[in-house]
Subunit: 355 residues, 2 copies
């Protein structure tokens, strides 16, 4: 069967013919339909993040997948059931406590591998196997868009942590801003609108006309150009934000989010920056953080409950949203084009098969 | 009656003879026993924080008080009941929603005055009045130490926010560090030990012999000299911390706390810094914050439930702790000495009367 792999020394992911996997006891065999491409894939390819499975000389890419159960192999799943696989798996022979409690997303480094990212093969292949417990059933209507459930689940988790951080008092957030108009940022805007936020803003640094700005505005959100207003100015120009999602990975944003927040507000950090020294008006930010009871939460990965919430969110999206976000669909053989980027592209996906 | 006031242009607080206040309907008259002095008082005196009541030419200082109900004035309180007053009060004619829901500590600026700090007279007087709802009943055994309930209540609130921020997943904190060995830091160490934390650390920058280090160690906690280990080194030298209280107001600490925390850990910021530009290894800190699901919460002030929790904590303290923390007791006439500071002093208190 065909799989998309990276190998040491290769500059780009490529198609390779590999053996179709056989499910172990407790595992199901899944026929993959679509696998999305995101920034993490590019980091894995560049070698800046993740790594090969132990002893392997290649890594099958892909962690945003949708597929169909081909062989339940004795599990509770039915053949033909649409499923999305979660990403984290236990380290062989390693600790499993976070998995047993259903919270692998909270496991510290060393407790997990991540399929398609670090230490385990991903889902960019015609068939994959997975323990049934890591396959989340998905309604059939989501066959073409369901690979977005994984990225949305990361936002769901961040929202869960953010809300929890404000659960010790009465908190009725009304305004929210997403920093970043990449695919994750746009999905976060959609999620916030679906979750009932009336006043949503999205920060980018692009000129009109631009397809991401069109999506932001079609969602009823307000596009804010970061080249016009600094984070500190935004509360005066627009309004202070009860909730902020940081989805750019631009390191100053993590700390300047304090300036954006309304009193009692929370910033959820999703973006992953590289090394960078920054100079901050740190005393003022620290003081403002304390005197206004603000909070910041870091959030990575997601577990089954977040995937379930993401399914509900994807179903609640206006129909055009996933269509507009998924700008480019490629066959596996078009892998080279699939990993290219550009301002006219939002989300690229590799289609291995259809329902 | 005697009160300790600051006046514009005066360099130091001084005793002034003022009229004994009459309680309005709903207010009780309280005979003050003791009022503690803390860093906020010094900031108010220096003019860097707070302000005079509207139209007043002086401010009665003091926000850490213990007193006895002299005249219940028709309220539910009994004469002779020991009470601690809370600090925040509604702005006259202003919004009262945060007060109505019992969360004045979460009210944004402009929604409150603070007695003895900003816009309202404090408790450093022989008698004060207060609405009965802001007087928290205290067991008689705490007559000498009860003025510590207010600072402890600030730590209780920070702990409540910190725990809430981790309530979306299973979190069993075992290690904790307090940054700062001032009075608030020492009370925080006592609180953590009383709350069942077995492994508690306290960061300071003092040489032995030192009374604060003795208290840290007598509490079964570990003193860490910040001149020997940076915050980033502490997890290797000691251990990563599930919970950190920042009680120094040193701006870099707010952000470097990320380095101190264990995965899924939370830093609660209590200290209030002045302006200061800082340079950070911001990309690494931001990345670590996200990839390890860490959190930071700012926390200011406290409400009645936190005062009640603080009463329980003060009662759970070993008997020697309050005695060792309260190093200096002054009569009102000794006000000049009372506001001096020094390495041999931990907590100074002005005693207006005894039970």
């Amino acid at each position: 069967m065909r799989a998309i792999v990276v190998t040491p020394g290769s500059e780009a992911p490529h198609v390779r013919e590999i053996d179709r996997p056989d499910p172990d006891p407790g595992e199901a065999l899944v026929r993959i339909l679509r696998v999305g491409i995101d920034g993490t894939d590019h980091e894995v390819i560049a070698g800046g993040h993740g790594g090969y499975p132990e002893g392997a000389s290649r890594l099958v890419l892909g962690h945003e997948a949708i597929g169909v159960v081909k062989d339940p192999n004795g599990s509770d799943l039915d053949a033909g059931q649409l499923v999305v696989p979660t990403v984290r798996r236990p380290v062989e022979g390693g600790p499993t406590d976070y998995f047993e409690r259903g919270e692998p997303d909270m496991a510290p480094e060393g407790h997990y591998v991540e399929r398609g990212i670090a230490g385990a093969h991903g889902f960019m292949a015609e068939y994959v196997t997975s323990p049934a417990e890591f396959l989340v059933p998905v309604p059939t209507a989501l066959a073409e868009t369901g690979f977005l459930i994984e990225p949305i689940s990361n936002v769901e988790k961040a929202l869960t942590l953010a809300r929890a951080s404000r659960s010790a008092f009465e908190w009725d957030p009304e305004s929210a801003m997403v920093l970043g108009n990449g695919p994750l940022g746009l999905l976060a805007v959609g999620l916030l609108r679906a979750a009932g936020f009336d006043r949503v803003y999205c920060l980018g640094r692009r000129d009109r006309p631009d397809p991401t700005i069109d999506i932001v505005e079609r969602l009823g959100a307000t596009y804010v150009d970061s080249r016009e207003d600094t984070l500190r100015e935004i509360p005066d120009v627009h309004e202070p934000m009860d909730l902020v999602f940081e989805a750019t990975g631009h390191a100053p944003h993590a700390f300047e989010t304090i300036d954006l927040l309304a009193p009692n507000g929370v910033g959820a950090l999703l973006g992953i920056p590289g090394d960078r020294s920054i100079t901050l008006d740190g005393g003022r930010l620290h003081r403002e953080f304390v005197l206004s009871n603000k909070a910041l939460v870091g959030s990575v990965n997601s577990s089954v409950p977040h995937f379930r919430a993401a399914i509900d969110t994807l179903e609640a999206f206006p129909e055009w949203l996933a269509e507009d976000v998924i700008t480019d669909v490629f066959a596996p053989d078009e892998v080279e084009s699939a990993f290219e980027t550009g301002d006219d592209r939002i989300k690229s996906v590799i289609e291995f098969d259809t329902l």
